[in-house]
């Protein structure tokens, strides 16, 4: 059982067969770092496994990483009740600081392969400000301990040259996935006029999506009551190009 671990360049973490790495259920075991969550630069707890400012590193193996994130979910539901009654629904997502399972931040030539990730406290894998990252053959099961809020599968944030293949993902929020169950959305692109940046060159093929509401969902003006609670003056530049979508849905 561990709290936040920080991988370095040229270090390859291998979780062997029949090994389960458990995440600590104490928030204090995840020190706050400078990172970005839902489009805002902020202090936020480190992930269980962090690959930050590094290159040529990996997490692989046939074992399991069980983040045991339910303690984050409970924090969220409790605070949601409180904030909702005060009309502050929109801020809960930022105020309840929760633990991601794997964070790749400002890194390149990184491989995440083979492992099974369970019960993320928040997003499962976030790729942030990174390039040349492969996420291959991982399994994500986030609904074993109940249904957690914001337990996204793989979130690609301000990164490029990313390859995600052969993954099997089951979450309670957005998957960015090749195979999904019990969820609402397959590939979701979400923005608001307060969020800048561009999204270009996305290629999606040979994907199987099972029992979902939306294969692709594009909300470029997502949840205005939530998104525009502050006054920002950022002009959005959303350019989107979807090439060769070929989805063999069943």
């Amino acid at each position: 059982m561990t709290g936040a671990l920080f991988l370095k360049s040229n270090v390859h973490l291998v979780i062997g067969k029949d090994v389960t790495l458990l995440g600590s259920q104490l928030l204090q075991d995840y020190p706050e770092i400078d990172t970005r969550v839902a489009g805002i630069e902020m202090r936020w707890p480190a992930a269980l496994i962090n690959i930050i400012d590094a290159r040529n590193a990996s997490v692989s193996g046939e074992g399991v990483i069980d983040a045991r994130g339910k303690f984050n979910w409970d924090l969220y539901w409790n605070m949601l009740k409180k904030y909702d009654s005060l009309g502050l629904r929109w801020i809960v997502d930022y105020d309840v600081k929760r633990v991601r399972t794997i964070l790749v931040q400002n890194a390149d030539h990184i491989l995440i392969q083979g492992i099974k990730l369970k019960n993320a406290g928040f997003w499962t894998v976030q790729l942030l400000y990174s390039k040349y990252v492969t996420v291959k053959g991982i399994t994500i099961r986030n609904n074993e301990d109940g249904s957690g809020p914001s337990t996204d599968g793989i979130d690609v944030d301000s990164s490029s040259w990313i390859l995600i293949e052969d993954c099997d993902i089951d979450c309670n929020d957005d998957n960015f996935c090749l195979k999904a169950r019990h969820t609402d959305n397959g590939l979701r692109i979400k923005s608001a006029t307060t969020r800048g940046g561009t999204i270009v060159d996305i290629y999606f093929e040979n994907s199987e999506l099972d029992s979902i509401n939306n294969v692709f969902q594009f909300n470029l003006n997502w949840y205005p009551a939530y998104s525009y609670s502050h006054c920002h003056r950022v002009i959005p530049m959303i350019a989107f190009r979807l090439i060769g979508k070929r989805c063999s849905g069943k």
């Binding site: 059982m1 561990t2 709290g3 936040a4 671990l5 920080f6 991988l7 370095k8 360049s9 040229n10 270090v11 390859h12 973490l13 291998v14 979780i15 062997g16 067969k17 029949d18 090994v19 790495l21 600590s24 104490l26 075991d29 040529n56 990996s58 692989s60 193996g61 074992g63 030539h109 990184i110 491989l111 040349y132 990252v133 492969t134 040259w161 990313i162 390859l163 060159d201 290629y203 093929e205 090439i243 060769g244 070929r246």
Partner: protein
């Protein structure tokens, strides 16, 4: 006529199916060399099923490995 239309559809869908944009070849981590020195966390005092938080021990293994120029930090079952 029907035959030629279905043939045309077949040819188009075959093209649509197999033509990938050229940049696809450049995505991902490329070759990561995993044939490197191995550090087993068991040798750093990490024991299974103790119910204890062993962040420091595992982080130490990672740091030692990184300082030595890199390698694998390995968890194996039952060690």
């Amino acid at each position: 006529m029907k035959k030629s239309i279905s043939l045309l559809v077949f040819i188009i869908s075959a093209f649509a199916g197999f033509s990938q944009p050229a940049w696809i070849a450049n995505v991902g981590a490329g070759d990561i060399n995993m044939d490197v020195r191995e550090y087993n966390v068991a040798k750093c005092g990490v024991k299974p099923n103790t119910g204890k938080v062993v962040t420091k021990l595992v982080q130490q293994a990672i740091d030692v490995c990184a300082k030595a120029g890199g390698g694998k930090v390995v968890f194996t079952a039952g060690t």
